[in-house]
Amino acid sequence: MTLLRRYGTLLALALIVAVFAVASPGAFGTVANLVNITQQMSLLAIVAIGATLVMVVGEFDLSVSAVVSFAGIAAVSLFGAGHGIAAVFALVVIAALAMGTVSGFLVARFAVPSFIATLAFGTVIGGLTFWISDGATLFSGIPPAFRDLGRGTVLGLPVPTLWLIGTAVIAWLLLDATEFGRRLYAIGGNREAARLVGLPVRRDMIIAFALSAGLAALAGLLLAARLGSAHPTGGGGYLLSAYAAVFLGMTAFREGEPSVPGTLVGAAIIAVVSNGLTILGVPSFLQDLMTGAIILAAVLVRQLGRAGD
């Protein structure tokens, strides 16, 4: 029972994988497919890790999807303007950090609820993205070397997976093993107390928002690299899924707090379910039904384990 309570959602993930592997040993259960899932979940997980940082301080960043779209469009246009890969990467990430800083500033300085601040600011970013792209999908001028940042394998692991591993390790250490991370959790747990002991609440919150936007931009760049094109609303699908991953993760470990390992479990559940259901050839509408039901079950498993408390 304690096991169920502490690791319920993780057990649910294991169970889901096991069920699919039995149902489809030849396709789902292969090492190649499991490795591929890590690649498929990587962009979502990177966005979700960014969202996790902001959730840790108790806020929402709803501009992540706008930043994902922006990063792809901005990158392809910059390539069109003749810039090199390193320059494009740097420019786009810096622009995103600046955007995150603005969101963070609005929330931390003016106490605007983050939900509305980032939603509105995301709309602004969306407008900017449309302006740059003229609303069209951009294809041309992407250097192959850039595309390789989002595809192929290195040492047998897909490149996006490697990006994810890097991001996750850094974010995890940042949150769990540094003073900055402790401060973020303290701010999220009791902002008043954090203020009372003189933590730099505003500065840390702004940094969290900036990092969230930076990671969304990274995901956007990798998405453009992976697809070889950039779509002005290409990040739209990431918003709710990223938060689904974070919230699933919150039920996975610790006392219902957002955490990097939790978010990874959450993103993995989402990725495994859609991969597995597609491989099993489940029709679309049933996929939705089952995805929703499986996520609910994954959360409930843990809550049932807690019922004894």
């Binding site: 540094t178 402790r182 747990g189 009791n190 003189g198």
Partner: protein, 522 residues
């Protein structure tokens, strides 16, 4: 008394400071002087402005007028960091821990953590905290999240936090209000205060327990209505003198003697035989109509858990009967049967900040305030009339009954929890820390109300950490330890010494609890 600070020059002087919140003059020309190594008591009625004054020192509020002088020079304390830099440490009245952090984590927030390489060193963090905790609170669980500590344990965690580093001044806003006065807890804190004083650290101490003030402090300052109305050496004043200064009138009878009340009738009103809460907790209780039973124990003894269990807010196994009828249906069912409950943690369990003071008072029986009895539409007028009545009976100091309870001072918040049950028939009262943080005057009022409730034939259980209160109020005392009732003291054997001894687990058990034969004992 340490006599430290005697004759030394004050290093901290507040001269005529003021601070207004809208129309409320929380501080209106307050003076305060503290010398190095002095233990200084700040006393005053609820809402006198004590906590506000502390907040000026900690940089949370800026003074609206007057001056703060440190070492003779005007200081502006811009924020918590500035206060920390001056060497001031604070234990605020409303506890401020991060709920998901354990004691170790909480102790280190805002401090430079020990590092190993680029990462924080958890072992070193724990070792430092354990060293401090060993002095003050050896029983405090260091690895349990604050959210799952009892209020008393949380208060200790705050104290541990404040004493982690050396300081010039440690400010404690009612640090003992949920600590039991038995040697282990409040006493241990007192010892620490004396140690600090000897080592030259000044301590500014706020408390409504005047005996504690008399025993511990060197100097005192009395606030009334935001103004300093008296200051001096404690050895030059007595308890009655302090009360006179605080209330601005004669020292009225603080508490009525027990004899002023009718003896309990002897009918059994409440009988319970339950297992509840943390594993191993078990209680057999019988309480007569009109009887006031005190519940005593050390921090974490299980008093609150027992009361919650009786209130139906915790899962229980066993039977609870009120006047022979089983109590069921959770809190709502108990209210319907005439039971009431006062929680101990006012912030977390007490009131809803989104509602006004008046609405909070009416919340437990909204259906009593209907314009038309059959329509669930609350009548604002009736709610306000009720709130005004409660306010006068308990001396509530509030700018307006329409404001949020969060703008009230700590003691006044406490009055709301009690006040919401006044003025209706009560058959069972479960009261957890009835007067935590309440000033002496209002304490007398609340005690009076409790007696009135008992006199009307109700069974009353009051858990308190204030042994003065326990002795003054209770006809009979149950002492808990480790989730069980370890002593049942009444009449001649009900002495302070017996109660304290029982709380520590080496008590002569007058009625050893025997769950299986509980019915026969009756």
């Amino acid at each position: 008394m340490t006599n430290a600070g005697e004759g030394r020059q004050p290093f901290l002087v507040l001269a005529g400071v003021s601070r207004h919140f809208g129309a409320t003059r929380a501080l209106d020309g307050a003076d305060l002087e503290i010398a190095p190594g002095e233990v200084h008591a700040l006393v005053g009625e609820n809402g006198a402005g004590k906590s506000t004054l502390i907040k000026l020192l900690s940089g949370l509020h800026q003074p609206g007028g007057g001056a703060i002088l440190v070492d003779g020079a005007a200081a502006s304390i811009a924020g918590p960091l500035a206060a920390e830099a001056l060497g001031f440490r604070f234990i605020h009245q409303e506890l401020n821990l991060v709920p998901q952090f354990d004691t170790v984590g909480n102790a280190w927030i805002g401090r430079r953590h020990p590092h190993r390489g680029p990462f924080i060193d958890r072992a070193a963090m724990r070792a430092r905290v354990a060293a401090v905790a060993a002095r003050i609170a050896p029983d405090l669980p260091l690895d349990r999240p604050a959210a799952r500590l009892t209020p008393g344990q949380r208060q200790m965690a705050e104290i541990v936090r404040a004493l982690m580093t050396d300081a010039r001044l440690v400010v404690m806003d009612e640090p003992t209000s949920s600590l039991s006065e038995a040697e282990a807890e409040a006493e241990r804190l007192h010892a620490v205060v004396r140690q600090l004083s000897v080592s030259g650290t000044a301590v500014l101490f706020i408390s409504h327990r005047l005996d504690e003030v008399m025993a511990l402090a060197d100097g005192y300052t009395v606030l009334r209505g935001g103004r300093t109305v008296g200051a001096g050496r404690v050895k030059d004043i007595d308890r009655a003198g302090l009360v006179r200064l605080m209330s601005g009138g004669p020292a009225s009878a603080e508490t009525l003697p027990k004899a002023a009340r009718l003896a309990p009738s002897g009918d059994i009103a409440l009988s319970a035989n339950i297992a509840f809460g943390p594993a191993g907790s078990h209680a057999v209780i019988e309480i007569g109509a009109g009887e006031i039973v005190g519940l005593y124990g050390l921090v974490g003894a299980g008093r609150s858990a027992l009361l919650k269990a009786l209130w139906g807010a915790l899962p229980v196994v066993g039977t609870i009967r009120l006047a022979g009828r089983p109590l069921a249906g959770g809190p709502a069912g108990r209210i319907a049967q005439g039971a009431v409950y006062v929680p101990e943690d006012r912030r977390r369990e007490g009131f809803a900040g989104a509602l006004s003071i008046a609405d909070n008072l009416a919340l437990a029986h909204l259906s009593d305030f209907r314009r038309i009895p059959r329509l669930p539409l609350p009548a604002r007028g009736q709610i306000h009339a009720f709130a005004r009545d409660v306010g006068t009976r308990l001396r509530l100091v509030a700018a307006s009954l329409d404001s949020s309870p969060l703008t009230l001072s700590g003691g006044n918040q406490q009055k709301l929890l009690f006040g919401r049950w006044l003025g209706r028939p009560i058959r069972l009262a479960l009261i957890d820390e009835p007067t935590r943080g309440v000033d002496v005057g209002a304490k007398a009022e609340i005690h009076g109300e409790i007696r009135r409730i008992a006199a009307s034939g109700a069974a009353v259980i009051a858990a308190t950490s204030d042994i003065e209160e326990l002795m003054a109020l209770a006809d009979r005392v149950l002492v808990m330890n480790g989730g069980r009732i370890v002593a049942d003291l009444a009449g001649a054997v009900l002495t302070r010494e017996a109660v304290v001894a029982a709380a520590f687990g080496h008590a002569p058990r007058s009625h050893p609890p025997q769950p299986n034969r509980a019915a026969a004992v009756a």
